[in-house]
């Protein structure tokens, strides 16, 4: 087992890790001091050099996104996405609760780089402790002069506030999050215009996941070159993998991108329960397609998982052993997405419910061959044709379930 020195999770197991004094004792806010001596363009260039890709699920290169922010716009915003809702994902929660200052430092550096003087934290409403920790971290940072007017004598001003979500998965989608932040119903917007052109209150806005931002201080301190030396060709840096399901020790493990799935499951997560074989693995949160046990040597990177027929998503690995009923798994995941569909576009709203009805009949042993056919027809109809990517995320588990485990679906109809 390779033991990597943790970068993002270096702080989380220290006593009182959430306190600003602890953070400062271990070199906190040094990156901010360094960044404020650089020009904003130099900071962005360093992030570009690091080749870090967004950790929220889509994997868009962060430096490129920062570069999209118009330089001459008088008002710009930064929105921090802490609306972690993808089933199987629990990495942001850990950082927010145990090391909020690492994100906040990234927030201040990012705001400085893009020229934003107002930043909003959009946090999932159920993260009660996370909300408290965010608010405490922000007020402590104000007291120490890391926030407010003239930060550390640099002349740069920044105000940060926390906004709690009201319990909608879709508000993790960046444009729906901005709608919600504006006090409206959480429904995605048409893209283009992208948030970098027209975001919060119609002004250029950078939306970034909090794990991405937690990486920024390390990139500034140790340099973009150091960061890009970790990982695979197209997936750089350290990543927190959330592993759950039928493994002996589930949890968060920080490893370089490109670590093989097998190593994460068997060496870090203690292997499969009762020594059983693996039937299926979800590698990046419930909206990514299933992988079978044959693909266990796949390195956990954006491009490698894509080649294997899935996606890295949020890096949430769900392991299912040989005893798992895959029809039931697909039904459960679909139920989640149907419940979370905002109802804006037709395929997701109506198609999702239709898939769920078929799946309920199949899982309950009352399904027919026609249910399987209709399930496939509807999932294909939804795939890629919805207003926002959530519809595709809803269709992926169904389509990959049918592709890889079709006999299991057919078994369920045997009696009818």
């Amino acid at each position: 087992m390779t033991n990597w020195e943790p970068v993002l999770l270096a702080n989380v197991n220290r006593p009182n890790s959430e306190k600003i004094d602890t953070y400062l004792r271990y070199g906190g806010y040094e990156a901010l001091r360094k960044a404020l001596k650089m020009t904003p363009d130099q900071v962005t260039a360093e992030v570009k050099t690091s080749e870090i890709r967004g950790r929220g699920g889509a994997g868009f290169p962060a430096g490129v996104k920062w570069g999209f922010m118009p330089k001459d716009a008088p008002v710009k915003y930064l929105a921090i996405n802490t609306d972690e809702g993808e089933p199987g994902t629990f990495k942001d929660r850990l950082i927010v609760e145990r090391d909020p200052h690492s994100i906040l430092e990234g927030v201040i550096i990012a705001s400085y780089a893009i020229g934003a003087h107002r930043a909003f934290v959009y946090i999932r409403g159920e993260f009660f402790l996370g909300v408290k920790r965010w608010i405490k971290a922000i007020s402590d940072a104000y007291q120490k002069g890391f926030l407010g007017k003239n930060i550390l004598g640099s002349g740069f001003d920044l105000d940060v506030s926390v906004h709690r979500g009201a319990g909608a998965y879709i508000c993790g989608e960046e444009t729906a999050m901005l709608e919600s932040l504006e006090g409206k119903r959480g429904v995605p917007r048409t893209k283009p215009p992208f948030p970098a052109q027209k975001g919060f209150w119609g002004k250029p806005t950078l939306v970034q996941n909090c794990e991405t931002l937690a990486n920024i201080p390390h990139i500034i301190l140790r340099g973009g070159k150091w960061y890009s030396s970790i990982g695979t060709e197209k997936s750089k840096g350290m990543k927190i993998f959330c592993i759950s399901g039928h493994v002996n020790s589930p949890g968060n493990f920080e490893l370089p991108l490109g670590t093989p799935l097998k190593e994460i499951i068997y060496e870090h997560a203690g292997g499969v329960r009762k020594g059983r074989d693996i039937k299926a693995i979800i590698p990046g949160g419930s909206s990514t397609p299933f992988l079978t046990a044959e693909k266990i040597n796949t390195p956990m990177g954006f491009e490698t998982l894509q080649a294997a027929g899935s996606a890295l998503g949020t890096g949430a690995i769900i392991v299912m052993d040989e005893t798992t009923d895959m029809v039931e798994v697909v039904r459960r995941i679909t139920r989640f997405y149907v419940h979370e569909s905002c109802g804006y576009c037709f395929p997701c709203r109506i198609g999702g419910q239709r898939m769920l009805s078929s799946l309920e009949r199949l899982a309950g042993g009352k399904g027919s061959k026609q249910d399987i056919e209709d399930l496939e027809y509807v999932a294909k109809g939804i795939y890629g044709r919805t207003f926002c990517p959530m519809g595709t995320g809803m269709a992926e588990p169904v389509l990959s379930g049918l592709r890889l485990f079709r006999p299991e679906f057919e078994m369920k109809t045997a009696k009818n």
């Binding site: 979370e340 804006y344 037709f346 198609g351 890629g384």
Partner: protein, 357 residues
């Protein structure tokens, strides 16, 4: 911009969407949520077409499936609205809409002007092509002029936009989310108990029979009525209306979408207050009072009498002995003529308007 639609070449001005371009050239693409006045909501996903040869859409070589309502035409674009793939995508959405509501065309007021019906007909739907679910009529009959059937509603979002962003009454809301989402009034009250002022903008944009004009129910099918354009008789704004006339009687009133100043909007009086036309008490000819009793007269006789009396008064007491009050129900143009008559012809400044006092 030179584009090809279904193999035919067209010249389309820049800034148009594929749907607008196709509609302008008489090519039908099924759509349920797009309305000219509201713009692209991209909600129903029925207007899918295949697009090729566009550098901005990563569709240089192989065609991609896109919603035509919010995709702008680019030079050299090839658009196919009737390929197998496009038609399958269009049919999928119509199937979903038909399979999830109370689409009782036979007795629906909207039959013949229903955009869901049109799309299903155009796409050659047969009975076996969709599921008939168990969706009983879910009617909200609480308001004075508008009948709401929630189960005919396909949640296209037009009424929401119309109520919130066109009429700006802010009554219609989206309640709940996902499959159970539905339109609601204020905090999900029955329409009659909500703050709705019954302007009827929502019934005008509704593509299906979910929001219908109560007063028109059973009075005439859409293909039986003749449309007559007129100016609203209620106030000086002069809204342009379309009267739907069957056998010489108005069965329904809608706003002229293409007419200024209202661009389709009407108020409750203009849209629903047309009963006075058929009132027994309505004056239809001028009346002259003689010895305490009215008698019918011709317009010439009545106007001559008024002119004669005015002249007598002016000669005897001067022009300022006369004053004019213009009626609030006359149009702006009529009120202008009225003050012109008083100021230039009768030479008095005693002119006012009843809505000002």
């Amino acid at each position: 911009m030179k584009v090809t639609i279904n193999g035919k070449r067209f010249e389309i001005p820049a800034g148009r969407t594929i749907l607008q371009a196709a509609q302008a050239k008489g090519i039908y693409i099924p759509t349920l949520c797009y309305h000219e006045k509201i713009g692209a909501l991209a909600k129903c996903r029925a207007c899918m077409v295949e697009v090729k040869g566009s550098p901005v859409l990563n569709a240089k070589e192989s065609p991609v499936l896109l919603t035509s309502c919010n995709t702008f035409v680019t030079d050299g674009m090839e658009i196919i609205t009737d390929s197998d793939r496009a038609v399958a995508a269009q049919r999928f959405v119509i199937d979903l809409a038909l399979s999830s509501g109370n689409h009782d065309c036979m007795i629906c007021e909207k039959s013949g002007a229903c955009e869901l019906q049109d799309a299903a007909y155009f796409l050659k739907f047969e009975d076996k092509d969709f599921r008939k679910g168990d969706y009983p009529a879910n009617i909200d009959d609480s308001s004075a002029f508008i009948r709401v059937d929630h189960n005919r509603c396909i949640m296209c979002g037009r009424c929401f936009e119309a109520c919130n962003h066109i009429a700006v009454n802010g009554v219609i809301k989206t309640i709940d989310r996902g499959y159970t989402s539905h339109i609601g009034f204020d905090d999900n009250l029955p329409m009659g108990e909500s703050s709705c002022v019954q302007c009827g903008e929502c019934t005008q944009v509704c593509p299906v029979g979910a929001l219908t004009d109560k007063k028109s129910i059973g009075l005439g099918r859409t293909w039986e009525v003749k449309q007559v354009r007129t100016t609203c008789p209620y106030c000086g704004v002069g809204c342009q209306q379309e009267l739907h006339v069957k056998d010489g009687r108005i069965v329904k009133v809608t706003g002229m979408e293409k007419g200024s100043p209202n661009k389709g909007r009407l108020c409750v009086k203009g849209r629903y207050g047309y009963d006075f036309i058929y009132s027994e008490d309505r004056l239809t000819v001028p009346l002259i009072k003689e010895k305490g009793a009215f008698r019918e007269a011709s317009w010439d006789e009545a106007l001559d009498l008024v002119a004669k009396k005015f002249k007598e008064i002016i000669v005897k007491h001067g022009p300022d002995a006369i004053a004019g009050v213009s009626c609030a129900r006359s149009t702006n143009e009529d009120s202008y003529q009225m003050q012109k008559l008083f100021r230039s012809v009768l030479k008095t400044n005693n002119i006012d308007h009843c809505a000002r006092t």
